[in-house]
């Protein structure tokens, strides 16, 4: 497998966890959670620090726990303190910058070169097997499959249905004696856990974490989610979940292609922002276009 393609798949799969997190917060609950960037970095930072002291297995758990805590805080701000959901996300994101540096013991960069990570562990296990050298893809793939399977089950349970209804029709949920606030809290806890897990895996796969590792990840993941939506617009839950993962891979593929065509790497954020804006505004423009043409004709006649 070419180096380029394998890095596309690796990054695509690792980011897919954040895309799945947004599937829960953005698609299901209809909340744009702006704390995603900070939460991603938190996962990387906590994962790195715990991996250094307590080993790789505990590091994944700790990262997920930290992300869930972050989701809990964001959701409590929204539901119990009446903070607007965008503002709650921004506040938590800003606060996390300090928290993350504190977690990394005052430094903005931690090197994991000599630390045992889930990837180095798997790498050793795979030596002398046909899969040798594929540890990143394998670990990421297993995690993504587990996450998709979990969401595919969870979102079809009664609790999951309540979560979906909360984003769909707030009033109806209240009338069905379900507390919509509680549903938001549960949803954001899950999406926080997934986001941090994503950050933790990225940090361990690239053997370092810096304070900016999560910057822009929300837009990248949102772009991936929306790309997935274009190709899998409707259909069963599992199709939409797999579509979100496919969107993440596709985004990374498009980006890699653009790099091949000599686009500088620093353009990533501009590209992802543009994709998000296009995907959201195109359907709107589509509805406005016929009216625009009619107005134009009328003006010409007049």
């Amino acid at each position: 497998m070419s180096n380029l393609l394998s890095s596309v798949i690796e990054l695509g799969l690792i980011n897919a966890l954040t895309v799945l997190a947004l599937f829960v917060s953005y698609r299901v609950l209809d909340i744009c959670d702006l704390s995603t960037d900070g939460c991603f970095t938190l996962g990387g930072a906590v994962g790195a620090v715990v991996a250094i002291s307590f080993g790789p297995c505990l590091s994944l758990l700790a990262a997920v726990g930290a992300g869930m805590l972050c989701g809990l805080v964001t959701s409590l701000l929204q539901t119990k303190l009446g903070v607007n959901s965008l503002l709650a996300g921004i506040a938590v994101n800003t606060a996390l910058y300090s928290v993350n540096i504190a977690v990394m013991k005052g430094s903005a960069l931690i090197n994991l070169n000599k630390v045992t990570t889930v990837f180095s562990l798997t790498r050793q296990a795979l030596i002398n097997t046909p899969l040798a050298g594929c540890q990143t893809i394998i670990v990421a793939l297993i995690t993504v499959i587990l996450a998709v399977a979990f969401l595919n089950f969870f979102l079809r349970t009664r609790l999951g249905l309540a979560l979906r209804a909360t984003g769909d029709n707030h009033q109806m949920v209240e009338n069905s004696s379900i507390d919509p606030h509680r549903m938001k809290i549960i949803g954001l806890i899950i999406s926080g856990g997934l986001t941090a897990l994503s950050g933790c895996l990225l940090a361990q796969s690239q053997k370092s974490v810096n304070i900016d590792i999560g910057s822009g990840i929300l837009t990248v993941a949102l772009a991936s989610l929306l790309i997935g939506r274009i190709f899998f617009p409707r259909g069963k839950l599992i199709v939409q979940l797999v579509g979100s993962v496919a969107g993440s891979l596709l985004f990374r593929f498009i980006y890699a292609l653009a790099l091949k065509l000599n686009m500088p790497a620093y353009m990533l954020k501009l590209v992802s922002s543009s994709i998000v804006l296009l995907a959201i505004s195109l359907p709107y423009l589509q509805t406005q276009y016929p009216l625009f043409i009619r107005r134009l004709r009328q003006n010409r006649r007049a």
Binding site: T157, R158, L161
Partner: protein
């Protein structure tokens, strides 16, 4: 039994926009009683329902349901025993979810981590076939694709699949075309009488108000100005109701809708 004791709700008090929602209103709804509610626009009918349902909290007075004081209880807790339908057919259902998923949310069978089983689907199909609207064949369709009448009938099924202690219907057929409105009304009567539900139904149609249920009350400026049942109600005619409205409230009946629906 639902009991309202001296409930008052004033909107924007002490401002130029002060509006009386409900004014010192007391009402007792006995078990199994089906009450129709009439009154001109702005007389406080929806406000009354919002107070009972908990979307509004009264300024003073108490609400008791089966002896429990629910005046300050959150709406999501109250709705365990209070079912509601609104004028807007979109209000009662989640459009992106399927018919079965909507019903499963309302039915609440099993624990939080239970998915919809085959026997659940069987149960939903059997329930929906009672509506005679062909919904039993649409279990896996998103509710957003249903007609207004179908959605309202589904909402009714969702509100009553676990029989509530009180059912509140706020002009729930007013936004439907006449034939599906009549159909939904027919189903309403069937469900309410067969389950012996306590039910409050707001309507602008005087004939329906007298025909359905066993008691009719009229609201004006947040007060009950007429409360008839039994013999008195059986002898009342639509025109006598309009006449009564005029004499009691002391103002001309200017509500077109009330007149047109005679």
């Amino acid at each position: 039994m639902l009991e309202l004791r001296h409930i008052t709700k004033i909107f924007n008090p002490h401002t130029v926009n002060e509006k009386i929602g409900i004014n010192d209103l007391s009402l007792t709804v006995n078990d199994g009683e089906f009450i129709t509610i009439i009154g001109s626009n702005g007389s406080g009918k929806s406000t009354l329902f919002n107070l009972i349902g908990g979307t509004l909290i009264s300024d003073s007075g108490d609400i008791f349901l089966d002896g429990n004081n629910i005046t300050l209880q959150k709406p999501c807790l109250r709705s365990r025993s209070i079912g509601r339908l609104f004028q807007d057919p979109m209000a009662g259902t989640a459009p992106d979810m399927t018919v079965a998923e909507n019903l499963a949310l309302a039915a609440k069978s099993g624990g939080w981590l239970k998915t919809i089983s085959r026997s659940d689907r069987q149960f939903f199909r059997q329930k929906l076939s009672q509506l005679e609207m062909g919904l039993e064949d649409c279990l896996d369709q998103p509710v957003g694709l249903l007609s207004g009448g179908q959605r309202q009938a589904l909402s009714l099924m969702m509100a009553t699949v676990n029989p509530p202690r009180v059912l509140l219907l706020d002009e729930h057929t007013a936004a439907l075309d006449p034939s599906s409105g009549a159909k939904v009304l027919e189903i309403t009567e069937k469900i309410v009488t067969s389950q012996h539900l306590s039910c409050l139904m707001v309507t602008h149609n005087m004939a329906d108000a007298l025909k359905m249920g066993g008691r009719t009350i009229m609201l004006d400026r947040g007060k009950i100005i007429m409360d008839i049942s039994g013999k008195e109600r059986a002898q009342a005619s639509v025109s006598s109701l309009v006449e009564r409205f005029r004499s009691t409230s002391g103002k001309m009946l200017d509500d077109d809708e009330l007149m047109l629906n005679n």
